[in-house]
């Protein structure tokens, strides 16, 4: 029997939040929970910078002439949007925030294996992000987040090397976070917590960590070579001496494709937690979902060439990558089926996290299936580098990853802060985000099919209607993101006090107080049951209902 304490928390108790109030106690903390909060604040900051760039881009695209900003400015905007959103928001997002906070709690541990390394991770992230912002303020960079050669080394007139330094340093943040998670998961599980009793969130983050540790170094070196080219004026990927610009693409995408699985796997992990809780059921096909996570991580390293079907690689290479890309879609599909199957004969409550989860399933399904369009070589030769690709990856990264993040943030908000967010606002925002998102990005599928290329500041007149619809959607989406910023901050002071387990959820993190004490558990938990034993939890609830539980 796990040690469960159903005592509602009081604010006079010592928690990780009030154990020290000085700036030093926060900036020199070794507590994974405080580091997670530091990350939440920082990634929110970067999200709004990246989002502002997107806002200006969408406004510029209201007219075919696209001259709201200078064309060179537009090029810097889409680069800033990509660099910041990929490297400084999406890659760290769930792992560094929810992962950092929840993993030790879920494992029944007092902290991660290497707390000081964890703090170092955050400082590296801040250092890298500062360099990127400095580059932005100094005039920006216009290569696109993909830094294709030889444009980025020889022809671009921006702060390429500086931006690359920022990304390079932030890359080490990612590697160290992954390292910490891997070691903690292997060595610090509570007694009785075997691998197949682990919550699926842990499986997902474990798979994510494998990618972070093994993939990031490759892009670090690749971009470092570009920076070297710029600084020292020697062509490495320079065609004028017979060098190969396509080699850059191979090296770049070797990381950057697995990177997208860094972005989506944690969100999938959140999905499993939220759906199990709000259907009151164990996840349908637990082992299959666990293995699917690892399969996605492994296969994800083998498909990078699907970005390069028309880039100059041979048709044979293309065929190999196309086939493997189809294969990597299958475990993702299996997860969607399993989450849907979990809802069967469940007892479903459409709280905010569940709304985000259902939105995730729908949007990830669409995004994933449109990925098949791009994996199909005969279709990709039409759709490559058009707005279809943009729509596809935004469905996955925004409709998928960000909705996963928002769902997880709301799900664990009471645990992190000790407060409940206002449920009506939560649900309304989830719906607004869902609707705004679809209006923004669905027209982009059509634009891509019609042939509108990516990274164009202006376009032929016949594309205007769809662009206007997209921008209209973006404004709604923007509102949808600002609302949580507002009510979540509000809830810190005025939200209802949350009990230890407002959702009656399974998982060791819910057996301690909200917010937890610095050392997480008063007594180290012992685990004797499977991950989502809602049958037992609900039976006990019926037998002895908890006063004041939501």
């Amino acid at each position: 029997m796990t040690t469960i304490s159903y005592i509602p928390s009081t604010s006079r108790r010592q928690t990780y939040l009030n154990v020290g109030h000085t700036v030093k106690s926060w900036l020199l903390t070794k507590d994974h929970k405080r580091i997670a909060v530091l990350y939440i604040l920082s990634i929110t900051f970067f999200f709004f910078i990246g989002g502002s760039a997107a806002t200006l881009m969408r406004l510029n695209l209201l007219t075919p002439a696209g001259n709201l900003v200078l064309e060179s400015t537009y090029n810097k905007l889409f680069t800033a949007h990509g660099v910041i959103m990929v490297f400084f928001f999406l890659i760290p997002s769930i792992p560094a925030t929810l992962g950092n906070f929840i993993i030790p709690l879920m494992l029944g541990a007092r902290d991660l294996a290497f707390p000081r390394v964890n703090l170092l991770s955050w400082y590296l992230y801040i250092a890298g992000g500062s360099l990127a912002v400095w580059a932005l303020l100094a005039g920006g960079v216009d290569t696109g987040w993909t830094f294709y050669e030889p444009y980025s080394s020889t022809y671009s007139n921006g702060w390429v090397a500086l931006t690359i330094c920022g990304i390079f340093i932030a890359g080490f943040s990612s590697i160290l976070t992954g390292l910490n998670f891997i070691v903690t998961t292997h060595t610090m599980r509570a007694r009785g917590l075997t691998w197949f009793r682990l919550p699926l969130f842990i499986w997902s983050l474990y798979a994510t960590s494998l990618i972070m540790v093994l993939g990031t170094p490759v892009v670090a070196i690749t971009l470092a070579l570009v920076a070297l080219e710029r600084i020292f004026g020697i062509g490495i990927f320079d065609p004028s001496i017979g060098g190969d610009p396509v080699l850059f693409q191979h090296m770049f995408w070797f990381y950057s494709h697995p990177a997208v699985y860094i972005m989506i796997l944690p969100a999938m992990g959140v999905m499993s937690e939220v759906i199990a809780c709000f259907t009151r059921k164990r996840i349908f096909g637990y082992k299959f979902v666990a293995f699917a996570s690892v399969a996605i991580a492994v296969l994800g390293f083998l498909v990078w060439g699907h970005h390069m079907f028309v880039a100059g690689q041979s048709a044979f290479e293309g065929m190999v990558f196309s086939l493997l890309s189809f294969l990597v879609a299958i475990p993702s599909g299996v997860k969607v089926f399993n989450w849907t199957g979990t809802m069967y004969k469940g007892s479903i409550e459409l709280k905010t996290p569940m709304l985000y989860a259902l939105g995730f399933i729908g949007l990830f399904t669409i995004g994933g299936l449109t990925g098949l369009f791009l994996a199909t070589m005969g279709a990709d030769m039409h759709l490559h580098d058009t707005y279809f690709v943009i729509a596809h990856f935004h469905y996955i990264m925004v409709g998928g990853a960000i909705m996963g993040y928002m769902g997880g943030l709301h799900f664990w908000w009471p645990k992190i802060t000790g407060r409940m967010y206002p449920e009506a606002w939560g649900r309304a925002s989830a719906v607004i985000i869902f609707l705004g998102f679809n209006l923004t990005f669905f027209p982009q599928y059509l634009l891509g099919y019609l042939g509108m290329p990516r990274r164009y500041h202006g376009y032929p007149a016949e594309f205007q209607v769809l662009n206007v619809l997209s921008t209209a959607g973006a404004s709604i989406l923007g509102v949808g993101y600002l609302l949580p910023l507002g009510y979540l901050l509000w809830s810190l002071k005025r939200g209802a006090l949350a009990g230890d387990n407002p959702w009656n959820a399974a998982g060791l993190e819910w057996t301690t107080t909200s917010p937890p004490p610095s050392d997480n558990f008063d007594q180290s938990p012992v685990v004797t049951e499977e991950a989502y034993n809602y049958a037992r939890i609900d039976a006990e609830l019926v037998a002895s209902p908890i006063p004041g539980a939501i």
């Binding site: 048709a315 879609a329 299996v334 004969k345 994996a375 039409h382 042939g451």
Partner: protein, 349 residues
């Protein structure tokens, strides 16, 4: 071009219809699974909503279902893979007898050169019904020659040729977009493909004053760059070379296509013909940095004009002027000219 709102881009080739069928199948699959998932989510969210007296039932996932959930998508994926690959391969292999047109991309314009001599900027005139093979190079960064109405595109990479082809089946004007970000005026690197009736095209291509057909310029270069001082004597003859099979010094046998000709001019040391491993004083010098992309195209056109037919389906033998070490695929009963042994120690004049 139609500037009004449209759902479907025009169809300018048979390939465009084939791609659309594939896209339609993909769309059907997407709609099917999306609707399926949405349906079940909505159904379950309603039917199993939490309410007093309703309890969740822990259901085991039957193994058969799990296998089906992996197996059925796998089979569908294989089918799509096969279909898409076949289509891509046929779009990558120009048919015999295609007319060649040269494209050079540079920041931020497309320079198009017809072999007959006519040049154009940001526009590509082609005749109806004949396959066109685009031989493309870049002068600076990576560009992409994108043709939505034909449903094809190909990156144009500095340092090598890329090739794509299409057969126009409808007269009209169609978008041309640069589909690989290339700098400040990437969005302005657009133009149009103009498909004309054959007779109109012939008139058009003979139209304005030009520098003459490309091969003439190529021949001029051949003389001016002193190519003739070696080729035709102790260097491999170029007559009949194009699209023949060539044995190389390292044992490989390759086809002398456009990419081979280009490589031979820019990096002669890369593919030395068997029998010609000479010392460096008679090795062909590299012309990298000496010739512009236009000049390389002209030279290649000239060399192609030395072959009996522009694009041959069968490999041919060709007369050689050296030791027979590189002779390839002699047809039965055919002899060859007496070999002339090159003297690697003979100084270059």
């Amino acid at each position: 071009m139609n500037t009004g709102f449209q759902f479907i881009p025009p169809h300018a080739s048979a390939m465009s219809w084939q791609v659309d069928w594939l896209l339609l199948a993909l769309l059907g699959l997407t709609i099917f699974f999306t609707v399926l998932i949405f349906f079940f989510i909505v159904l379950f969210a309603w039917k199993y909503r939490a309410r007093p007296g309703h309890k969740a039932e822990q259901v085991e996932a039957p193994m058969a279902l799990e296998i089906a959930l992996w197996g059925i998508p796998f089979i569908l994926c294989l089918g799509l893979f096969w279909w898409g690959t076949r289509l891509f391969l046929s779009a990558s292999r120009p048919p015999a007898g295609a007319m060649d047109i040269y494209v050079i991309g540079k920041q931020w314009m497309w320079k198009i050169q017809h072999p007959e001599g006519r040049k154009e900027i940001d526009e590509l005139h082609v005749p109806l019904g004949r396959p066109v093979r685009l031989i493309m190079a870049s002068q600076d960064v990576i560009h992409d020659f994108g043709l939505p109405a034909f449903r094809i595109k190909r990156d144009v990479v500095p340092g090598s040729y890329s090739v794509q082809w299409f057969t126009p089946t409808a007269v009209g004007e169609y978008h041309l977009f640069c589909d690989q970000y290339c700098g400040a005026q990437h969005a302005e690197m657009i133009g149009k493909v103009v498909v004309m009736e054959e007779a109109d095209y012939q008139r058009w291509v003979a139209g304005s004053v030009t520098d003459g057909p490309m091969r003439q310029g190529g021949e001029q270069l051949f003389v001016n760059m002193n190519c003739m001082s070696c080729h035709g004597q102790w260097a491999p003859t170029l007559a009949g070379l194009y699209m023949s099979r060539v044995r190389l010094a390292d044992g490989r046998t390759v086809q002398a296509d456009d990419a081979y000709l280009r490589r031979s001019i820019l990096d002669p040391g890369a593919d030395i013909v068997a029998g010609y491993q000479a010392n460096q004083s008679v090795l062909m010098p590299s012309f990298r940095g000496t010739l512009t992309e236009e000049q390389i195209d002209q030279l290649i056109e000239y060399i192609k004009s030395l072959a009996p037919a522009a694009y041959l389906e069968e490999p041919t033998t060709r007369p050689v002027s050296n030791g027979g070490a590189d002779l390839e695929l002699r047809k039965p009963g055919e002899g060859g000219p007496p070999p002339l042994t090159p003297d690697p120690n003979k100084p270059v004049e």
